[in-house]
């Protein structure tokens, strides 16, 4: 890099230097913000995870090295929470990807009033999670919920069900609530990918007598791969960290059935005031996310189609 700058004519070099300085100062507020809300808290979390901090106001807690990580990894609560989190991640990302693609594919067709549909489809994503959670809690409500109303009017159930009473069913219902909110995001991402595919290649395929299924698997899917990969990384990371919708809808219940790993970290740190252990669990979540995103990004870089 330095070599190429040295080889450039002096005037050009000066301008480039000026641009770089400007870029640096323009980036400084962002660097400070990133530092303040990401790096500094991260540094504190790492620090606290190495101490036995059992009070929010502890001034001089004992240093225990990796003791908290040891305790976290040997606790059955962590493993069951991890299992639930992986289930949540796989199923919610899966639903969002399939539904998101269908929506994107539909929106890529030309039809009257498409712009209205496009604007409407983004609405769930624009809702704050807390509002979304309250809405779905209302829908699932055992007494006056819309789900019971709908199913009993259709004659599918003869009496009202208590949807959020079963641990495993609750987890799935929270997934639906989450998918409803985030599918639009996936759809918009995939729609952007779809619009970028030139229509000429479909015409060429038609000339070559490739059917719609063949052209989907041989052209649409590979060409859409970078968008899918991108949205997969984003959604997986978000799903592994899931907390707010759980807090607002079920608070980890019933019988811990919706307690994901982030929620487990929260309960450990704040409800049980074991900040050291809670920080260690939070860092384990971070590690899982880091590993997964690195793998994804590597895979994408290897792919020739990568547009990132």
């Amino acid at each position: 890099m330095a070599g190429s700058i040295a080889a450039a004519p002096p005037r050009k070099r000066k301008r480039r230097n000026g641009e770089r300085r400007l870029a640096f100062w323009l980036l400084l507020p962002a660097i400070l913000a990133v530092f303040g809300i990401i790096l500094y808290p991260l540094y504190r979390t790492v620090l606290i995870s190495l101490f036995e901090v059992k009070s929010a106001v502890a001034v001089d807690p004992p240093f225990i090295g990796l003791g908290n990580f040891q305790e976290a990894l040997s606790s059955p609560g962590l493993w069951s929470a991890t299992g639930r989190t992986l289930y949540f991640t796989l199923v919610s990302t899966g639903i969002e990807l399939v539904l998101g693609f269908l929506v994107a594919w539909l929106l890529n067709k030309k039809f009257r009033g498409r712009w209205i549909v496009q604007a409407l489809i983004i609405l769930p994503w624009a809702l704050p999670t807390i509002v979304n959670a309250a809405m779905w809690k209302g829908i699932y409500n055992a007494q006056y919920g819309a789900l019971n109303g709908l199913l009993s009017q259709l004659g599918l159930i003869d009496q009202y069900q208590v949807w959020l009473a079963d641990p495993f069913l609750s987890l799935n219902l929270v997934i639906i609530a989450d998918a409803w909110k985030t599918t639009p995001l996936v759809a918009i991402f995939l729609l952007a990918g779809l619009t970028a595919i030139p229509s000429e290649i479909y015409e060429a395929a038609r000339v070559d007598r490739a059917g719609p299924i063949r052209s989907f698997f041989s052209m649409t899917l590979p060409l859409l791969a970078p968008s899918i990969a991108l949205v997969l990384v984003l959604r997986t990371v978000e799903a592994i960290k899931v907390f707010d919708i759980i807090y607002a809808m079920t608070r980890g219940g019933p019988a811990n059935g919706t307690q994901t790993i982030s929620y487990y970290a929260y309960v450990t740190a704040f409800s049980e005031q074991n900040y050291g252990l809670g920080s260690a669990i939070a860092l384990i979540v971070l590690l899982i996310v880091l590993v997964l995103s690195t793998v994804y990004l590597r895979l994408m870089r290897r792919s020739e189609m990568s547009m990132l």
Partner: protein, 432 residues
Amino acid sequence: MSTHARTKLRSAVLAGIAAGALALTGCSVTGAPAGGGAGDGTGEINALFMKQAGYSEDDYKEIIAAFEKEHSDIKVKPTFVSYEALHDKIVTSAPAGTYDVVLVDVIWPAEFASKGIVADITDRIPDSWKSDMLPAVLATAEYDGKYYGVGNGPATKLFFYNEDMVTKAGASVSDLDTWDGVLEVAKKIKAAGLSQYPIAWSWAQAEALICDYAQLLGAFGGDFTDSDGKLIINDEAGVKALTWMKQTIDDGLTNPASTTFLEDDVSKAMAQGETAFGLNWDSTLRDLQDPSISEISKSAGVLPTPKGPSGKRPGVNGSMAYSIGANSKKQDAAWTFIEYLMQQDVQDKYVTSSLPSWKSSFTDESLIKTNPEVFAASKDAYSETILRPAVPNYSSVSQIIQVELQNALLGKKTPQKALDDAVSQANAQLEK
């Protein structure tokens, strides 16, 4: 500037940021400053209260307005959160000393005191309070012989009923003296088609579940811990109580949605005339008799918690206390406000929201007349109480019990297995 110099500048800026961060952390790992201060007894103080049960937001706003009139140099800024968020809010705001006055539940003083979250106020409590206040209320925030708050009134779960449904089913209120009687009446109400599920409970995965279980545990003659402080709810009485709870679900007498209910949901189910019975805090009668939010305002009634096979009817001690945040910088002003909240005339005025802390209020006929049913029901309920374990790590113990009780109620485990699991996990916690 050369490339080298530029890199140097950049590194210097980044190093500066890092150094700033380290300076910010000070020498403490948690970043918590050490201790609060008395202050000069004036200024703006922040108070943290809860939304459910006891004094309502409007009650507190009225009390604060009256207080500020008397003490023009102190302003009180109240914050209200749900009970379920209160513990974590107190804990997370503790290092910064955000709240000068905090409302704490009877199960937290051991934890908050041993972890230095709230201030020791033993020296502030006047001697007269020790003789004039109900002993159980005074002991609400007592830990290790010291006071970490003042109990703001006795509170327990009482038994609320819809008299209309009881009489329409051909039963009478006197049948509701025992849990067996309650089930008999519930069966009649169900058979008469007056309510699909006559009883609602707050059995969600929350502290509310422990409170309901506590009263049933007591009614079956059990206790949470033995004399050594070990959890013993997997003994006969504990298992019988839980088996009884599960049976009421299986018999269709308990609303199956109870396992998702908090106290507010129970109150609403009763207010809408969906269920006939529910255990709830004493302020519930105020809401059930309010025609603007209740359809059963004419027929809502309250009794002490019914007797169980043991012949006992202990109420769970559910008092709350006013404490001062340990890192509050205005502890004197906070105490002035707490003294006002504890004033007998102030407490007597809001008697329908929360019973007063003072012995003499309970013999004041003119006061009893304002809330006769709750006074009568409470008298019996308070004569025997059941305590939840007063241990520093109560929150984790409670979490364990909540999950295992739910496992049994949802049919995932037998009551015996669930309670065995709860006891072994909880006792391991207690040993920590």
